[in-house]
């Protein structure tokens, strides 16, 4: 398990005191059909961007609450990770972006028939957001609306 003890004392104290936003009531969308017939989208918070995409803005107080669309046919090794957090080891995701954005694994699941298809776009957030109000009010609903319009059935969300 990831553990608070991984972090420096100031980060640990911050996280212990942080007012995590409780989701109430818990929203719930049961699976409506077999996964082998479902369309999957990936959501990563590793702040991946493709060449030519606007970088995440580290200067935004409380964290950049925007997101980037990553096309399904993207070359995973073209992704640049720009997570602003210095509280974790970035080495692994630099070696293999699939560690936090498992596009190759998702393609393999479709080839095996475990998943019906992949959505033409996936989403990349910069997860280090300490003031999530604008994420809650603006960008998370906008992201959900995009994937709803794409007829996405299931989403796998991966933090770092």
């Amino acid at each position: 398990m990831g553990h608070l003890n991984e972090f420096s004392l100031p980060v640990k104290l911050f996280l212990k005191a942080y007012p995590w936003r409780k989701i109430e009531p818990v929203s719930w969308a049961p699976l409506k059909k077999p996964l082998s017939h479902c369309r999957l989208a990936l959501v990563s918070t590793a702040a991946f961007v493709l060449p030519g995409q606007k970088p995440f803005d580290e200067s935004i107080r409380g964290g950049d609450f925007s997101f980037r669309e990553i096309p399904d046919d993207a070359d995973v090794h073209q992704l640049t990770e720009s997570q602003r957090s210095e509280s974790f080891d970035h080495t692994g995701i630099h070696q293999d972006p699939n560690l936090a954005f498992p596009l190759h694994r998702a393609r393999e699941l479709v080839q095996r028939g475990r998943i019906g298809s992949l959505n033409p776009r996936h989403l990349s957030f910069m997860g280090s957001i300490t003031a999530p109000g604008r994420l809650i009010q603006q960008t998370a609903p906008a992201a959900a609306q995009l994937l709803f319009e794409d007829a996405v059935d299931v989403a796998l969300l991966v933090p770092v």
């Binding site: 398990m1 990831g2 553990h3 608070l4 991984e6 996280l15 995590w20 936003r21 409780k22 989701i23 109430e24 818990v26 929203s27 719930w28 969308a29 049961p30 699976l31 996964l35 989208a41 959501v43 918070t45 964290g63 957090s85 509280s87 080891d89 080495t91 692994g92 293999d96 699939n98 560690l99 936090a100 498992p102 190759h104 694994r105 998702a106 393999e108 699941l109 475990r114 989403l123 957030f125 997860g127 280090s128 957001i129 300490t130 999530p132 994420l135 809650i136 959900a144 609306q145 994937l147 709803f148 996405v152 059935d153 299931v154 989403a155 796998l156 969300l157 991966v158 933090p159 770092v160």
Partner: protein, 87 residues
């Protein structure tokens, strides 16, 4: 903070009828936030799907996460623990 961000996005996706499962590196966060479905993984931050360049280990985590979506008996919030098989 990434653990919170995926929970908040998952909640909004579910409100739009999209079934979700979130990987979680910090049990404390999910237990306080109540995302719809979460699987706790025994890896340090930066390594949510276990080992870089190891498709088999990454598939093990993803497979366990996806199975949470398939159990009609589960009710929210769903918390499950992933136990990595080690050589």
């Amino acid at each position: 903070m990434c653990n919170q961000t995926v929970c908040l996005v998952a909640a909004e996706l579910e409100r739009h009828g999209i079934s979700t499962v979130v990987i979680q590196l910090l049990r404390e966060v999910a237990e306080r936030m109540h995302p719809p479905r979460a699987i706790f993984v025994p890896f340090k931050h930066g390594y949510p799907l276990d080992t870089p360049n190891d498709p088999q280990r990454q598939h093990a985590v993803i497979g366990a996460a996806l199975r949470l979506l398939e159990d009609p008996a589960l009710t929210p919030p769903v918390f499950a623990e992933f136990r990595a098989a080690r050589d």
